[in-house]
Amino acid sequence: MSLEDYRQQPKVFAAFALPTLVWLLLFFVTPLTIIWLYSFGENVSLVNIETTWTLDNYVRIFQPEIMVLLWRSLWIAGIATVICLAIAYPIALVIATAREDKKPWLLLLIMLPFWTNLLIRTYALLNILGTRGRLNQALEWLWGVANTAVNRIGLGGMQLLGENFTPLKMLGTPSGVIFGIVYVSLPFAILPIYSSLERLDRSYLEASLDLGAGQWKTFRYVLLPMTMTGVVTAAIITFIPALGQFITPDLLGRGQVDMIANVIERQFKRANDWPFGSALSLFLLYITFVLLAVRSFYDSRRSH
């Protein structure tokens, strides 16, 4: 099927293309241009911002307090992404190798929480992660079982697991925020890996096993490299929203584990420092662009 040249039917083309382009220009490009101009501006009064082309707002990003936050956002999002990929790969493998009639149901099982409101899922975690919440109850039970086992085999005197169970502190700590981000973004990570596994020519795996490579070697040298595009896509579409997460650090971090988005929110809602908030938002946007460029570079290098 060949595409029509727009010059053959310029009116039909315009009728279809113009509404979209006008909409994007008005409600997407213009808003971004406004914050771009604000990011080079100064507050002249409470609500008036004059674009003076100052670079102050960008310089302020590099002051230590903000750099600490940026760095924290990067590593929290990074660790969450790695954990997501490590869980997502086996799940995607199970779905891709399940019986054909089961596949849609397994996919639905993955997608259902994803369709549930992000805020509600985070709120649900808030109930689980407290020091006296369900996660710690489950861990305490496991600790009890393990402790009894240790006592049974006669090592009780050594108190290998400590005298008492110490509850994990998750709320207000980076681990709680990472837990929350993994929880909300896991489905994002599964789908691209799944679709790359579906497209895979399985005879390569058979060949590898037939030629004597073990399961692990086959995974490491055949399966993983062949599905790397899916893994990279999964990593990027998990990492970008994770980096800009607002709700998770806000609710689970309890103000102790702020990330970039929390600082941006404060500039607009409380501190009323719109120029600095704009500069931070654009900084986040530039990081996103760099990541997308990395991905398309990766894709193009693989296809050659």
Binding site: P31, V94, A98, L119
Partner: protein, 284 residues
Amino acid sequence: MNNIANQNPKKPFEYSRKWSMRLVFIVSMIFLYAPIIVLIVFSFNNSRRGGNVIWRGFTTDYYKKAFANEELMLAFANSITIAVSATIVSVFLGALTAIFLWRFRFPFKPLAEGLVSLPIVIPEICLGVSLAMFFSKMGLWTTGDTPWPLNLSNIILAHITFSFPFAAMVIRTRLQNFNREMEEAAKDLGASEYRVFRDILLPHMRPGLIAAALLSFTLSLDDFVITFFTSGPNTVTFPVKIYSMVRFSITPEINAASTLLIGLTLLLTYIALRYQRQMINKND
């Protein structure tokens, strides 16, 4: 060779049969579902405070309380109004976008495609902040005395901006398997451009349009971050209201309200799946 094959009785791609893989899968499912199930179960818990740890008996009081909470119900009405309006425009705009990208060759096409997909990929907070600044700069900031539902227009505009690219993506996927020979045959038989569109292309697009509508509706209903920045004190949506309730104090009423929203999402998913199944059966 055979020797090695015998050591590996399972076929190479039967990971779903390995117990270790199954265990990972089951544990992950517990991880995904347990918090939501606990939330739903404890919406029926008869306890005023800290009701999420100790079970104190069954009650539906918190649902009655949620329904009697006028602010919450107004937020719910706002959310539905916004979702319906945003869905209608998103599907329309998404269909136009999908058609022009699918059908035509034109200069700077990659640029146009990039621009359309950009609202999907940029961090939500950037879009929320920039739209909030846009509305205040353009004087489109709705004041307290704008009559309902006009005071929701900023939020509706914002929702259309982030959901129509998703709609376009879904509709375009459907258009990929349209047989253009049908269109040519109709034109050869004297059908006008408009009739071809109405009688051939539109019926083919229908499942895509419905899928796009359900997706846009869900996206709009679920959005928190962008709405949080573009809403005013009088234009609170359901998720924004739940957020302010969570910040204030944690009560079983929030669980009840959340359960209602989860129920609505499940219902929409069910409708989408049923519809999809009908389409598959028809095509057979």
